[in-house]
Symmetry: C2
Subunit: 193 residues, 2 copies
C-alpha cells in the first residue's frame, strides 16, 4: 500500500486535514458575514492561507460552497437515520435546520444558482437530490400506508414533490420571518393521505 490519500503518515495527511479545515471554516465565514461576502480571500484570511491555496483544494468558489452543502447534507441525513415515520422525520429535519440558519441560507442560495444556465454541477447536485429524496419519501409513504392497511388516495410521487416544495418554500419564508412554523405547516399535508 502506498502513502495514498488516507494513509496515516505520508504527505497527504496534511492535505486531507487542510481540506476539512477549509470546509468547516467556510461555513463559519458564511454564518458570520453572509454568503455574498464569503469571498475566497475572506475564507483564506479566516484560515490564515492565501486565497490561491483554496483553489488547490477546490475547483472554484462555487464548487467549494457546494461541497460544504453536500457534506452537511450528508451529516444531516445520517442524524435522522433512526426515525422511521415520515412526518416525525420531516419535523426533526426542520427542527435541526432551525438551529443552523446559515446552512439553510446556503442551501437556498445555491439552489437559486442551480436554476441558472451554465451551472451544471449545482444543477446536477440538486436534480439528483430532488430525485432521490422524492423516491425515498414516496417509498416511506407507501410503506406506512400499507402498514396501516390503507391504500393511497393520491399519487405518492406527487405528494413527495409537494412535501419537498413546501419544505423548501417554508424554509425561505422562515428565513424572512422566524414566526413561520415549518413543521406545523408541513403536518397539514398529512391530511391529504
Amino acid at each position: 500500500m502506498s502513502k495514498g490519500q488516507t494513509g496515516a503518515r505520508g504527505p497527504y495527511v496534511k492535505g486531507v486535514q487542510r481540506r476539512q479545515e477549509i470546509l468547516d471554516r467556510t461555513l463559519d465565514v458564511v454564518a458570520h458575514r453572509g454568503i455574498e461576502a464569503t469571498s475566497l480571500r475572506a475564507i483564506g484570511e479566516a484560515i490564515g492561507i492565501s486565497h490561491g491555496t483554496l483553489l488547490h483544494y477546490f475547483e472554484s468558489r462555487e464548487a467549494l460552497l457546494l461541497e460544504v452543502l453536500r457534506e452537511r447534507d450528508t451529516i444531516a441525513q445520517a442524524a435522522l437515520s433512526g426515525i422511521d415515520q415520515v412526518f416525525p422525520w420531516l419535523e426533526s429535519g426542520a427542527n435541526n435546520n432551525a438551529k443552523d440558519p446559515a446552512m439553510v441560507a446556503l442551501y437556498t442560495t445555491l439552489l437559486a444558482t442551480a436554476v441558472e444556465a451554465g451551472n451544471e454541477s449545482a444543477r446536477a447536485f440538486f436534480a439528483e437530490r430532488f430525485k432521490s429524496v422524492r423516491a425515498d419519501l414516496s417509498g416511506r409513504l407507501r410503506a406506512e400506508l400499507a402498514a396501516s392497511g390503507r391504500h393511497p388516495e393520491a399519487d405518492l410521487d406527487q405528494v413527495a414533490s409537494l412535501i419537498m416544495a413546501a419544505f423548501d418554500g417554508l424554509q425561505i419564508q422562515w428565513l424572512l420571518d422566524r414566526d413561520i412554523d415549518i413543521a406545523g405547516t408541513i403536518r397539514l399535508i398529512e391530511r391529504v393521505l
Copy 2:
C-alpha cells in the same frame, strides 16, 4: 402644474421612456443570457448606452432587477383579477408563469438574495409580498368556505403559507425538471380543506 414626472412635454419625458426601455430590455437580456450574465454593461450594450447611464435611473444593479420583478409581478397579478376561485386562480398563475421561465428564474434568484443579510430592499419586497399574498389567499379561502356553508378545519393562514411555499418550491423543481406538474400538485392541497 409643473413639468413634473408625468408631464406630456417637458424634459422628463425622455427619461420616463428611457427608464421603461431599460426595464423591458433588462428582462430580454435575462431571458437570453441568464441572470448572472446580465451585467450592467451587458444591459447597456443591448440598449446602446453606457453602463454608467443605467445607474442614473436605478440605484444599483439589484435595484434594477428588483424593479423588473416588481413591475412584472404587478402586471401578472392584474391579469388574474377576473378569477375569483382560489385554485383556478393559482392554476392560471402557474400556467402564465410557465410561459416565462426567465421571470421565474429572476423571482427565484432575487428571493435567494433577499434571505442574505444586507439586502434590505429585496428583503422588504419579499416580506411584504408574502404578507399581502398570505392575507389575500386566506381571505379568499375563508370566503369560499363560508359560501359553501362549510367551516374551516385548519388554520387558513397556515394553509395560505403552505400554498405559497408549495408554489415557490414547485416552480424551482419545475425549473430543474420541466416534467413537474405545478398546478396538479397544488391541487392536492385542496383536500386539506
